[in-house]
Amino acid sequence: MFIRFFIHRPLLILLLSVILLFLSVGMTRGDRGELDGPESWIKDGVFRLQGFLYQETQALISLISPENSAKPAAEPQEFLNLKSRVFQLEQENEELKKLLGYKEKDRVTYIPARVVYRSPDRWNNRVVINRGSSDGVYAKMPIITSQGLIGRVQSVTEDMADIQLLTDSGSGPGIAAVIQGENGETLGILEGYDPEKKRLIMKKIPASAKPKKGQIVVTSRLSDIYTGGILIGTVDQVKTGEFGVDQIVYVKPSASFERLDFVLVVRDPAKLQLIRHQAGGKDVKGGGKR
């Protein structure tokens, strides 16, 4: 009876399904925190099969294509200079930490992970890695490669985590970043990505600041999520903002967002505590809305 009522009214079905679509998108969008139930079972099942295929292909491709020839080493003199400078800074750092009463447990640690699969379309940039809540990965943790920041964890199940890449940052709350200039740091907000130029867009930079091409952009210590000082990229182009009161900087990302394989999840106890505090003392699992 009911089935017959619906079968002869395609328009009614169409309208009902559009309404259902709006409802389900409204309920499932945004940061989801930790997932459980059937959704995580389906994801975990597909994840095991995908993991095998993705890593086998990676192995095959690395066999076929000759590895990028190693970059010529920096000039010996320059290298030695840098080495001595690093040594000097390390010592200084050590002493200052002693003064501050720095605790070993506050140290930032890294959880190594491998990429398992990636969403086929590039409109939303989602990558999945093979570490989940059982390995200590929580929502909102930053993800880096050896070249720099690539994104953050959006939702986790027991064995895997979804990553939202930096190229998708336009839909999020933005990332507090600083440009390391000659006369101190300039704070700005990283919002959006220009897919044609392949540049990240950094906004709200005061007009008095004079960013130059080639200056380094890193995450800010003031960010709620990101550990300070993670490399994002370099300044590429500077423009005046919409109303002339601020500037827009196009940042050339230092990390590549293609052919991802090994990544590191940054575990910063201080930021985790902050996230927990903001969630009202609850566990991190809850996650927040975008």
Binding site: L14, S17, V18, L20, L21, S24, V25, M27, T28, R29, E39, I42, K43, V46, L49, Q50, L53, Y54, T57, Q58, I61, V116, Y117, R118, S119, P120, D121, R122, W123, N124, R126, G170, S171, G192, Y193, P195, E196, K198, E258, R259
Partner: protein
Amino acid sequence: MRVFVVCFLFFLFLIQGSVLQWLLPQAWGTSFVVIPQLVLSGIVMLSLYGDEQMAVLFGFGFGLLHDIVYGPAWGISAFSTALTAYAAVLVSRHFPPYPWIAGLTNMVVQWIHLFIIYGWFRLFDFTQMPFFPAISYHIIPSVLFNVVCGFPIYFLISRIYRKNEQNTIQLFG
């Protein structure tokens, strides 16, 4: 036979996210992007061979799976894939499953599907890409790729159905 078709489509589904992500041109640094939609091609070919309800159901099922596994929210692909599968069914009611008909239908369906998905993504603010770059950098290369890749899928599915058709009588086509 249905089990075999489901396995084949699921295999295509897995390949989209893993193997092809290493082989497609964007992995090698091109600015245009190819979005593989092999499952949709498979569903179009299925609808041409007359299993109408199955095509729409598979469209919904694989769309939902796509949403859960890859998507930013549930329902977008489920709705769009089911709708485009229904469009393919409407076409296939009027034409016999010749290869060039399959190619043309596949092309139209891929266009519609990419447009609808892009539209929903823009509406819900999952992407900020403007309209014309999305067409020239994403949609046109993807349609070309998927039409070309549709032919092997067409031949495989037609082979599965011919084997099955030996016991039936065919009047047209």
